[in-house]
């Protein structure tokens, strides 16, 4: 039987989360998801599988969407992380969040933060996505309520609102 050490190895890690620099002591086996949810109490990032299959843990790591359950906390050292809590710039909602409400792009809402992060990454690199672009960019996110039709509409509506807001 295994006799693994009961005290895990730890190291300090410094990273930027939602614009704020943080230094934390992280166990080597922690994932970025674990660090966000447990050490920083940023529970908006959900854990639907903890094994890279569902996308509910999606965050931006240096502007790219990643499954935070597939990134070790220490790998995020020196990098910039954006979570659902950091999407809106002020006290109001981000246009994607607004569009998700207006287009009813959710049911239970458990997948929603992950979808919004994937959409956020998409709209940063492609302000005028086609429906096919939206489907491709969100295909790493699972919605078991299957609110896909509304989610597609939500992202397209958000893109439109952001283009209009920018012009």
């Amino acid at each position: 039987m295994s006799t693994a050490p009961t005290q895990p190895f730890t190291s300090d890690v410094t990273l930027t989360v939602n614009g704020r620099k943080r230094t934390l002591t992280a166990a080597h086996h922690w994932t970025l998801l674990h660090l966000l949810r447990e050490a920083l109490d940023l529970t908006g990032t959900k854990s639907g599988c903890d094994r890279g299959e569902c996308g509910s843990c999606t965050v931006l790591l240096d502007a790219l969407p990643v499954y935070s359950c597939q990134v070790l906390a220490l790998q995020a050292g020196g990098k910039e992380v954006v979570t659902i809590e950091g999407v809106a710039s002020g006290p109001g909602l981000h246009p994607i969040q607004e569009a998700f409400i207006n287009e009813d792009a959710a049911q239970c809402g458990f997948c929603t933060p992950g979808f919004i992060m994937s959409a956020y990454a998409l709209l940063r690199r492609e302000p005028s996505p086609t429906e096919a672009d939206v489907r491709a960019a969100l295909s790493g996110n699972l919605c078991r309520c299957n609110a896909y039709g509304r989610i597609i509409q939500g992202v397209l509506a958000a893109a439109k609102a952001m283009r209009e807001g920018a012009s």
Binding site: M1, S2, A4, T6, P8, A27, H29, R37, D41, L42, T43, G44, T45, K46, S47, G48, C49, D50, R51, E53, C54, S56, T83, I84, E85, V87, A88, L93, Q97, F100, I101, N102, D104, A106, Q107, C108, G109, F110, C111, T112, P113, I116, R135, A136, L138, S139, N141, L142, C143, R144, C145, N146, A147, Y148, G149, R150, I151, I152
Partner: protein, 762 residues
């Protein structure tokens, strides 16, 4: 009240969504308490075994481990269900809960599990329900493997007579595998004791039911247990069980610290609740003119290691055969069988998707044999508003059982014909091409139809409380849990219109036994109907009391005053007298409250929802791949309270059920009892890439018994989907699949067996 609707019938924003898009909403696994420990479960590696002993010494010696619970703890013998205790000295499937550990963090708890020394005595086991019925089969529960000890038998007329009258009898066997509901949020429970009082946060579909189950199992007075349901990451009928919560509670008592238990995704697949697999033998007798003379349905369902909601599911599997078509002679024989396989339970549609798959594919087969178009055959035979022919046997004054088998009782409303007609029009059924010669040679397209009848609506007794406070804010207290379907949204809309306040002024109090009134579990699509009726009644009562206040205030007779959208009007003046909040401010006490309890149903009518679905599919003859290109779902769920959330429900239900039709199956290895594909990668659910072009139609019959004319909506969208797709496949490639899911390998095998012969090719 009708002309004053300002909330009902409008696409108002879904309640609670704002907190979900920001990540603020805390689901059960997001709730933390100071000093909280993390629990993990030890699960049986054997499909069937006696647990001889559990040595906990090494685990407990590990620093940071605070409690271990085993079946040898006397308090673990508390009963959660007639066939289930909190922990048991008998493991009944691979994954059955054997012991539990609470530790400082989850990896430590997992490590401690490995230090538990369990001595098992493996027993013979059964994974196949047919085999489990042999007299010499291993006994899984003391009462034997046939649940209830006898088949469920439901009969109208005489099928023998019906078959004798028939010109043609066709018989076939259909198979539906078990698949997982796999809600995205894994189950979780958090327990905290304050002296003898216990508070449990848990993934729940009914806090009152959970509280009574848990109080009973833990031997506590009901008043000392409080169950709180945070937002639910969807249930789809699942998450109605309490074993995990009971284990968390006992660990917490031992450790004297709060304990949270989180299921892993793999545990969700193996130890959640799956849809019952079914083997359905169906025989149908018809006259040459198309009249149906007999339907005989024998259904065998696997409930796995525990009964859960099995009998209700078995009953729902009969729904289509008994009621969808006019037929004087029907028989349903249902067998529900224990095996050493993952536990089956409630999953959206209960047994109806299985039963409808068999019936609606069989109907196409019969229609073809008679040379009648599948749509025309359905239009000729579907049940009408008058219900089944025959004489009513139940006493006149009695509330009609929601599922009478006898004839002679009409429906409160029935828009099935309109669903068929309008759906057919939308998919252009009658003008569809007779063949598809223009496609690349490897692609074939086809269109299929399937209908649905669903009991849903009248549930058990429901209570609602509506109160208005001096500030003018209104609270609706309901036991209905928001499982993601939008129940709170529609109940809020009903409150607004029944009271005459604004939608924005209503707050919902729910999901906490400390504050919400009793309600049945959120199941069987009862939220809109039953709880809606209670809500409307309570709101109307409150309106009455407020009218009294207003009448005194404005010195006008009560019947000359009305409320609308938060304003007070006199019938004799075009402009408003005041805001409702002004009246509220004058209330004698701090708030006014009204409560109503209803037992929905009627002595005169059956309440059912209806649907007709149409699928257009494309089959790739080289890969066996099937794509759903276009889909039309026409529904009669009565008046639609919120069109936007209703469309979302239908689209989601259809897409979800495409998994059952085409991709999902949870496989148990018969040699070991091990679940082979417990992950999202291997139990493949529909994704956004293949999401079809989907059109929803509501025919909106206004049901005279439903609140504002509404009927059930949540489950019907999943019911006819597999049959519509399988019928479309037949249209495309001339192969009639009798077993789900229709995966590419099944398509290729079938194509190899019979060279493709598109049925409608010239």
């Amino acid at each position: 009240m009708k002309e004053a609707l300002t909330a009902v019938g409008r696409s108002l924003p879904r309640a609670g969504l704002a907190a979900k898009v920001t990540g603020e909403a805390r689901y059960t696994a997001d709730v933390k308490l100071p000093g909280m420990l993390h629990a993990r479960l030890l699960r049986s590696p054997h499909p069937h075994a006696e647990i001889i002993s559990v040595d906990t010494a090494a685990a407990l010696a590990l620093p940071g481990v605070h409690a271990v619970l085993t079946p040898f703890d006397p308090e673990a013998a508390g009963r959660l269900a007639p066939d289930m205790t909190i922990l048991s000295k008998r493991a009944r499937f691979v994954g059955d809960e054997v012991a539990a550990v609470a530790a400082d963090d989850d990896s430590l708890a997992e490590h401690a599990l490995q230090l538990l020394r369990v001595q098992y005595r493996p027993l013979p086991f059964e994974t196949d329900p047919q085999e489990a019925l042999r007299p010499e089969a291993a006994r899984i529960h003391p009462g034997g493997n046939l649940c209830g000890g006898a088949p469920m038998l439901l009969e109208r007329g005489s099928v023998e007579r019906g078959f004798a009258e028939a010109d043609l009898v066709l018989e076939e066997t259909y198979k539906v595998p078990c698949h997982s509901a796999a809600a995205l949020e894994p189950r979780a429970a958090l327990a905290r004791w304050d002296g003898d009082g216990l508070t449990l946060w848990k993934t729940s579909r009914g806090v009152h039911q959970d509280r009574s189950t848990l109080a009973h199992a833990l031997g506590l007075p009901i008043d000392s247990v409080r169950v709180v349901a945070p937002p639910l990451g969807a249930g789809f009928g699942n998450k109605d069980e309490s074993r995990g919560a009971a284990i968390a509670a006992l660990l917490s008592r031992k450790a004297q610290r709060p304990v949270r238990l989180d299921y892993s995704r793999h545990e969700e697949f193996v130890a959640g609740r799956v849809r019952h697999s079914a083997v359905i033998r169906l025989a149908m007798g018809v006259k040459n003119d198309g009249a149906i003379t007999a339907i005989d349905n024998s259904t065998l369902m696997n409930t796995g290691a525990y009964l859960a909601s099995g009998p209700g599911v078995l009953r729902r599997a009969a729904q289509g055969s008994l009621y969808l078509y006019r037929c004087p002679n029907v028989r349903y024989q249902g067998l529900l069988v224990y095996t050493n396989a993952p536990v089956a339970g409630s999953y959206r549609g209960l047994g109806a998707p299985q039963g409808h798959f068999a019936l609606e594919v069989h109907v196409d087969r019969v229609a073809e044999a008679l040379g009648i178009d599948p749509l025309e055959f359905r239009l000729m035979n579907h049940v009408g508003p008058e219900g089944q022919e025959g004489r009513r046997r139940s006493p006149r004054h009695e509330i009609v059982d929601t599922q009478p088998v006898e004839g002679g009782i009409p429906f409160s409303s029935n828009g099935l014909r309109e669903c068929l007609e309008r759906g057919a029009e939308a998919i252009q059924w009658r003008g569809r091409p007779a063949s598809n010669p223009l496609r690349p040679p490897a692609l074939r397209r086809g269109t299929g139809v399937a209908a649905c009848i669903y009991r849903g609506g009248p549930g058990r007794e429901s209570t609602a409380r509506v109160a208005i406070h001096r500030s003018g804010r209104v609270t609706l207290a309901t036991g209905v849990i928001e499982v993601g379907q939008g129940a709170h949204t529609v109940l809020t809309q009903m409150t607004a219109d029944a009271l005459g306040c604004r939608y924005e002024d209503v707050d919902v109090v729910s999901g906490d036994t400390a504050t919400a009134p009793e309600a049945p579990i959120t199941a069987g699509s009862t939220a809109t109907f039953s709880s809606g009726l209670a809500t409307v009644k309570a709101a109307a009562k409150l309106r009455g009391s407020l009218l009294d206040v207003a009448s005194t205030l404005f010195e006008l007779p009560r019947d000359r005053i009305y409320f609308n959208r938060g304003l007070v009007f006199s019938k004799d003046r075009p402009t408003e007298l005041a805001a409702l909040s002004d009246v509220a401010a004058q209330m004698p006490r701090g708030s006014l409250e009204a409560e109503a309890t209803v037992t929905p149903g009627s002595p005169d009518y059956i309440v059912n929802s209806f649907a007709a679905h149409f699928a257009e599919v494309e089959v790739n003859l080289n890969t066996g791949g099937v794509r759903v290109l276009r889909y039309v779902a026409a529904h009669d769920s009565g008046k639609i309270i919120n069109p936007a959330t209703a469309v979302n429900q239908v689209e989601g239900g259809v897409s979800q059920a495409l998994g059952l039709a085409l991709t999902e199956e949870l496989v148990t290895d018969p040699g070991s009892g091990v679940t082979l594909n417990g992950s999202f990668l291997e139990h493949k659910s529909p994704g956004i890439a293949a999401y079809p072009h989907l059109q929803t139609i509501f025919v909106e019959t206004e049901d005279p018994l439903g609140p504002f004319g509404a009927k059930a909506l949540g489950e019907p969208p999943t019911v006819p989907v597999a049959a519509a797709v399988v019928n479309a496949l037949y249209d495309a490639i001339g192969i009639r699949f009798a077993q789900l899911p229709v995966t590419p390998d099944k398509v290729l095998d079938a194509l190899a067996e019979a060279s493709p012969r598109p049925r409608r090719d010239p």
